[in-house]
């Protein structure tokens, strides 16, 4: 009983203990805020990448691509884990005459089922979710009319500016120049199944028309131009006009709900091996051997990984800093032991055990740690949950833009606290406090009664 009493008395009476509490509070708060914001950013990055990629990707790295993709997609549908699969063509294009960009050919309907691409479009009405160049309601004198063939060749351009206001975007959109008649000549290399130049050998050229903007907030993707799968296949001579089987570069797959990602990956890889074996005797079976089957996490690892690494680095830096707090507690407790050496001697002479004295200080350390972590967690949560209000206030009062939306890919500071992470941080803080109390507790325990009570 006396232990609890002593712990409580020391805690209430010794103002210096408040300093220890303050140190713990500060550090817990700081770690919580930084980690929450970083976790939020990572979560956001992951979901953006997942949204763009779909669940599973079959890729052949070479621009040659691989044949028999439709047959394999049919095979996939026979299993009961696939919700949707769609082929994709990836290549590079020369636009107008002087800028180059990655080109992606998709079957838009299927693609929007496999991925979250529909949410990335600027105009989201049904008539804008297609590559068909729309009819002009009010054709001006200079507007050329498009043939039905030409009208199939719409393109979508990535990366409309986040910072531009919706009014500005609308006015850009409405300027008929951009809306209907922005013809874009696109040139690509035509490559045959052996990877050699084919067609005119000097690049194939076709004009496309603007239909919509999209924004995925992935730097590399927002650089690209999306066109219809069949049109790009035809343009790059992958559609079999040279008598070889048609080819695609990727198959993207959406799994049915509650199918485990990794299991599905193994299963699909197995399907593919069997499929490639069946096709062994057919033309260009060599193109089927070096495909990779990746989950979206693996496929986009280069883009997700760096952020996760940064978080690990932060944790390392903060654990270094946390050691300072341990020293603070150590110094304070050491001081208290020194100061109260006589009290401790009396208690011991009254029959308290070594362990009991150690317990007083360990308990004290734990109490300091707990109060500090509680306060720190509360403060940290308050800051994180109101991060955007605080940022808005800073902006309003001082004109200081902490989080300019056009620099960071998301326009809000992540304001979600991961409570399991918060609990771990608090636990570590309590343990650190205990560690700081350890040596003073040992000193108190080893006290020799006679020494302690002697008058100096």
């Amino acid at each position: 009983m006396f232990k609890l009493l002593l712990i409580w008395r020391y805690f209430v009476r010794k103002r210096v203990a408040l300093i220890a509490v303050l140190a713990v509070t500060l550090l817990v708060m700081m770690v919580l805020v930084v980690l929450s914001v970083m976790s939020g950013l990572i979560e956001n990055t992951r979901s953006r990448n997942h949204n763009w990629t779909g669940d599973i990707v079959l890729t052949r790295h070479s621009l040659v691509g691989f044949p028999y993709y439709d047959e394999f997609i049919d095979r996939l549908y026979q299993s009961d884990i696939i919700a949707q699969a769609t082929p994709i063509i990836k290549t590079y294009g020369l636009l107008e005459s002087d800028w180059t960009t990655p080109l992606i050919g998709v079957r838009l309907d299927e693609f929007m089922h496999v991925t979250g691409f529909a949410e990335c479009l600027y105009k989201t009405t049904d008539e804008n979710k297609t590559f068909t160049v729309p009819d002009i309601t009010d054709p001006g004198p200079d507007t050329p009319s498009l043939t039905p063939e030409q009208r199939k060749r719409g393109f979508m351009r990535g990366g409309f500016l986040r910072s531009s206001s919706s009014d500005l975007m609308d006015s850009i959109w409405q300027s008929s120049q951009l809306r209907y008649y922005l013809p874009l000549p696109i040139t690509v290399f035509a490559i045959n199944s052996r990877g050699l130049l084919t067609g005119s050998q000097a690049g194939e050229n076709q004009t496309f028309w603007f239909v919509n903007y999209f924004r995925t907030d992935l730097l590399d993707v927002d650089d690209t131009i999306l066109v219809d799968f069949d049109e790009l296949q035809k343009l790059s001579w992958m559609d079999g006009q040279d008598g070889q089987p048609p080819r695609a570069s990727q198959i993207r797959i959406k799994l049915k709900d509650n199918i485990d990602l990794e299991t599905a990956q193994t299963q699909i890889a197995q399907f593919w091996r069997e499929f490639a074996q069946q096709k062994e005797k057919q033309d260009h079976a060599e193109l089927l051997t070096d495909l990779t089957v990746q989950t979206w996490k693996e496929y986009r690892r280069d883009y997700i990984g760096p952020m996760e690494n940064e978080k690990t680095l932060m944790i390392i830096i903060f654990s270094m800093i946390g050691s300072v707090a341990v020293f603070v507690i150590f110094a304070i407790f050491y001081m208290i032991v020194t100061e109260k050496i006589k009290d401790l001697g009396i208690i011991k002479s009254l029959g308290a055990s070594k362990w009991a004295l150690a317990q007083v200080f360990l308990g004290y350390g734990a109490l300091v740690g707990m109060v500090g972590s509680l306060l720190g967690t509360a403060l940290g949560c308050a800051i994180v949950l109101n991060a955007n209000k605080i940022e808005g206030w800073l902006n309003q009062e001082f004109g200081f833009r902490l989080w300019p939306p056009d620099i960071y890919a998301i326009d809000k500071i992540p304001d979600v606290v991961n409570f399991s992470e918060a609990a771990i941080i608090a636990l570590v803080a309590v343990l650190a406090s205990l560690a700081g109390a350890l040596l003073p507790a040992r000193r108190a325990a080893k006290l020799v009664v006679v020494d302690a009570l002697r008058i100096e």
Partner: protein, 475 residues
């Protein structure tokens, strides 16, 4: 005298004080490393922009031919170290079966660029100083000519004429290969070998400048060298061609009967020119030189010649915005580390408080011997300052050392953790900036010193207010 003696004694005898010193050291070192890296990053960006664009950039908005003559005239201006004309366009590069890359084509005059550091150090084959060949060039070696002839004869069943010969190009290293996933380093040997084993030319397709109808041009080319600059954009996007060749490739025949193209001239000032007023004067002279050149040499009307931009690439809003944003992130990091300084101050406070309480009797004796209250306070303040000073100096040493060796430390961390923190794919540059920002160190040192002294302030006051009689009496 006794003050100094006591301060030093306490410092030596009380081992607990080392924690205070360690905390200050940690804060100062962290601040120095973080500030140096962030400012070094800004400097790397600036250097890169400077290197690729010059302090002053002259961009005619109308296509022209005689860039070489213009460059010569500009170089005659006092205070200008060098001027370089570049032109460029986008293109697709076909490297071999199934391998096509989107690239930016840069046309440059190697006779001028070979003097610049990047081309000296970054070239894989020609960087070795060769007495016979003082500057790097685009010329095809006899082996390449033989290999090309063999390829050409096999394909077209006739010998290539001089006009059929491919153009020699220098390729950014990331266009040819991918860096190692873990170490982020390119395998230079494999790339050189790949270059020497090459038996076929590459193809470039591009378009004429300024034409909406993508009128395509296809040319054969052969990589004669590979350039590694350590900068993401340059390494993964750029291929370099001779300036004349590029001008003929992308330009159109103008009224003079010669190929005319759009380009820009990067102007590099002599290192002793730093003041804005001098730069402005040189800018004006460049403007005058340009007008004279356009109106006399090219017979342009004055209004036509006025279609020119003479700008300072560093002052573009984009460059300013990026710099500002990095500075802001630095400020946030500094505030975070500053909070740690507060904890360090707490630590010193606690330590001193403890010493004051333990040494109450000493203080009583000193006071009884006639020392003033201020004298007592001075002992503890000096003590705090000593802790701050020692911590700051150690922190400076540690911080400077860590910054200098940050790339080594990072590669150790890579080995330890199994992943690389600094990747050129994320941070644009291959190497972490490792130059200590000495201009920022003085205020970091002062921060360390003040932190420690502030921590000592309350205990010092406390000690000064002790009554000698109280502290000397038996309890």
């Amino acid at each position: 005298m006794h003050k100094l003696f006591l301060s030093l004694r306490y410092l030596r005898k009380k081992r607990i004080v080392f924690f205070g010193i360690a905390a200050v050291t940690l804060c100062v070192a962290l601040l120095i490393v973080i500030t140096s890296i962030f400012n070094g990053f800004v400097r790397s960006l600036h250097d890169y922009w400077l290197q690729s664009q010059g302090q002053i950039q002259l961009t005619p908005r109308i296509a022209m031919h005689p860039y070489e003559d213009l460059v010569e005239q500009i170089e005659n201006i006092d205070g200008i170290a060098a001027a370089r004309a570049t032109t460029g366009t986008g293109g697709l590069l076909y490297l071999g079966p199934g391998d096509v890359r989107a690239v930016a084509i840069v046309g440059l005059d190697l006779n001028r660029n070979a003097r610049d550091e990047i081309f000296h150090k970054g070239l894989l084959l020609q960087s070795v100083p060769n007495p016979q060949k003082p500057v790097a060039d685009f010329s095809l070696s006899p082996e390449i000519r033989d290999k090309f002839t063999a390829w050409y004869e096999k394909k077209f069943r006739r010998s290539p004429t001089a006009a059929d010969m491919p153009v020699g190009i220098i390729v950014g290293i990331g266009v040819l290969a991918q860096p190692d996933k873990l170490t982020d380093k390119y395998d230079r040997h494999a790339i050189i070998e790949q270059l020497q084993q090459r038996k076929e030319p590459m193809y470039i397709i591009s378009g004429k400048q300024g034409e909406m109808t993508a009128q395509k041009i296809r040319r054969l080319c052969w990589p004669v060298d590979v350039l590694e600059t350590g900068t993401l954009h340059a390494d993964t996007n750029l291929i370099y061609l001779p300036f004349d060749y590029t001008r003929d490739l992308v330009g159109n025949v103008g009224s003079t009967g010669e190929k005319e193209c759009l380009g820009q001239i990067g102007i590099y000032l002599k290192p002793n020119i730093k003041k804005n007023i001098e730069i402005a004067r040189i800018k004006q002279q460049v403007q005058q030189t340009w007008m004279r050149f356009a109106t006399t040499r090219m017979n342009w009307s004055e209004s036509k010649a006025a279609n020119v931009s003479i700008s300072d690439p560093m002052q573009t809003s984009n460059a300013m915005m990026i710099t500002q944003e990095i500075r802001k992130q630095l400020a946030i990091m500094q505030i975070l580390v500053g909070l740690v300084c507060v904890v360090a101050a707490l630590l010193i406070f606690v330590t001193l408080k403890m010493i004051v309480m333990q040494r109450t009797k000493d203080i009583g004796i000193i006071r009884a011997l006639g020392s003033s209250r201020v004298g007592i306070a001075a002992i503890f303040l000096a003590y705090g300052a000593a802790v701050g000073l020692t911590g700051s100096i150690l922190g400076l040493a540690l911080g400077a050392w860590s910054t200098r060796n940050i790339n080594v430390i990072e590669s150790l961390i890579t080995k330890l953790l199994g992943f690389k923190i600094w990747k050129s794919g994320v941070y644009f540059f291959r190497d972490i900036p490792n130059e200590v920002d000495w201009s920022a160190t003085w205020w970091i040192l002062i921060t360390g010193l003040i932190t420690a002294t502030l921590g000592a302030l309350l205990p010092a006051i406390h000690a000064a207010r002790l009554q000698p009689v109280d502290s000397l009496r038996y309890e």
